[in-house]
Amino acid sequence: MNSSVTSAPWRNRVERKLTIAKAINEAIAQEMRIDPRVFLMGEDIGAIGGIWGHTGGLLDEFGAERVRDTPISETAFIGAAVGAANLGLRPIVELMFVDFFGVCMDAIYNLAAKSSYHSNGRFKAPMVILTAIGGGYSDSTQHSQCLYATFAHLPGLKIVLPSNAYDAKGLLTAAMRDDNPVLFMFHKNLQGMGFLGTVKTAITDVPDDGYEVPIGVANIVRPGRDVTLVGLGATVHQAMEAAGRLSQQGVDAEVIDLRTIVPLDRNAIVRSVTKTGRMLVIDDDYRNCGLAGEIIATVAELGVPLRAPLRRLTYPDIPTPFARSMEQFALPNADRIVDEALNLVTGAAK
């Protein structure tokens, strides 16, 4: 399997840089134009155009039947998306912050995620759930979580998490065309909304045609020989920054962008570690029973020959504190990645 599809073929054209917000918007609009079954619902997605700036103009183009502002009734509208999807529609539902899913978790993990399985494949649930993740701007305990591992633990949901605008458009298009429930998570710092601070490297060239980035295929964003850095979403950008600095110190890091959490591209990870013999997983979600542990277990149980212990740099097992000093203490960053990677390569790892 080829891990890299960023070199997707597109026609000669002028480069066009988009933010993830704009890429999401374009993917939804294009799919709604060609597929009348697709509709959108959620809080503040209509007149205001989404508080993350990605649904602007959709209400004007498609009208209030297909772009529906909902009451703050997540149990009702996410559960309703399952029923609508079962009967042939293809809803995209948004719940602003992943932190809010607690109020409607049953709709996610007992209704959406199990629809196909317990109906023996008869009731498909082709729906996309959009939500924002991540902190770093002092939004405190109930508005800064990532929680992707929480959802990954529940069988029946596909989970994607783009790190850049190209992948965002392609993954969302693939998600809308998938016959399963797909949780599409976007990291606030990458969204391209100035008020959240913007990681510039997430703003990339995006083809104007519709295209898919396949769900379940990781991307080697930087090849290297000495150590594998595995990241996703925001941590890909931290890993790339770290890799740049490491190369000045003679360490050649390979960086993997997972792009999809479920299904996880285990082959790409194992292939890379087989080559480098060292791995550091960078994960901005909670540590305990988390994604980083899963990735490490994947490599460990295959008995890949290693040159250093497998390591993870994660968000610790505490809620996200408000005060900047405490939040920055807890979050992964490029400095820490450099330190950890150097320790691995020089054998100083504890």
Partner: protein, 331 residues
Amino acid sequence: MERLVPTATQRLWMYETMAKIRLYEARIAEAYMEGKRPLFNMAKGPLPGEMHLCDGQEPCAVGLSVHLGAEDYLSCHHRSHAQAIAKGVDLRRMTAEIFGRSAGLSGGRGGHMHLFDFDKLFWTSGIIGQNMAPAAGAALARKLNGEAGIAVACIGEGAVNQGAFHEVMNLAAVWKLPFLCIIEDNGWAVSVPKHASTAVPENHVRAAAYGMSGEYVAGNDPDRVFEAVGRAVARARAGEGPSLIEIQTTRLQGHFMGDTEGYLPPDERAAKAALDPLPRYRERLVSEGLLSADLEATIDTRIRRELDDAFEFALAAPEPEGAAALETLFA
């Protein structure tokens, strides 16, 4: 219905508290915008993160809290500075918390949306509707312990469409809890108007579905709030069970700071300033001879002194050590 009229002292307290809340929010707004001009970035400046101001909604807080004592529990939402101040939450430590300082109510862990003051039995949650059930639980604790004290949950009119609201209302009614649900109807949930989200024009009719008393308070007027809440509090204290009160109010600013309210119909935008309840109440007290220019000046001085003290205390307090993030996860 029995008339309940606030005393002169109560009315002056409501006025002064409304004025204090308004000035407090002005200072918070000023500090919040520091470092966020000309480019607005939530992470920048001495006060990062989201900020929801409550300008215009002061009557709900004061008309409620004037009836509450130290033994009464109050749980609120994301827009709760008014209730915190009216309930008597320590202003120094609350301000320190909002600035993320170690001397804050939660040592800087919670910030503006998570204000917890155990001494004042004040509690908030930023997840819509989820502050309801703990208030019912607090009411149950009072009842089972045979203690005095009631519990109140404040929510927005948008929060009424949350499952938790309906479940808690029913539970409070079947258990006949000393509980009160206050809905602050400012007409908007971020960009969604009430008529687009709520199937009935006024939520007080929903009380009938739970077999409890419900009332709508029009006019955003502290004296009217005082009256309606007073009756409900008396019923709760007398063991007659819970009540629902919806208070018409106005969100004078955007949903959060940075919201330019492009979704507001132009006529509604233009009409906003005239709906400010503070000058209206002030004029009434002046015209009734309760408030003189001298008294107003005295009140203003007193407020400014208290706010100066709170902000000085907060800003003089150190930021927490990063590693303090690891503390207090478990009691």
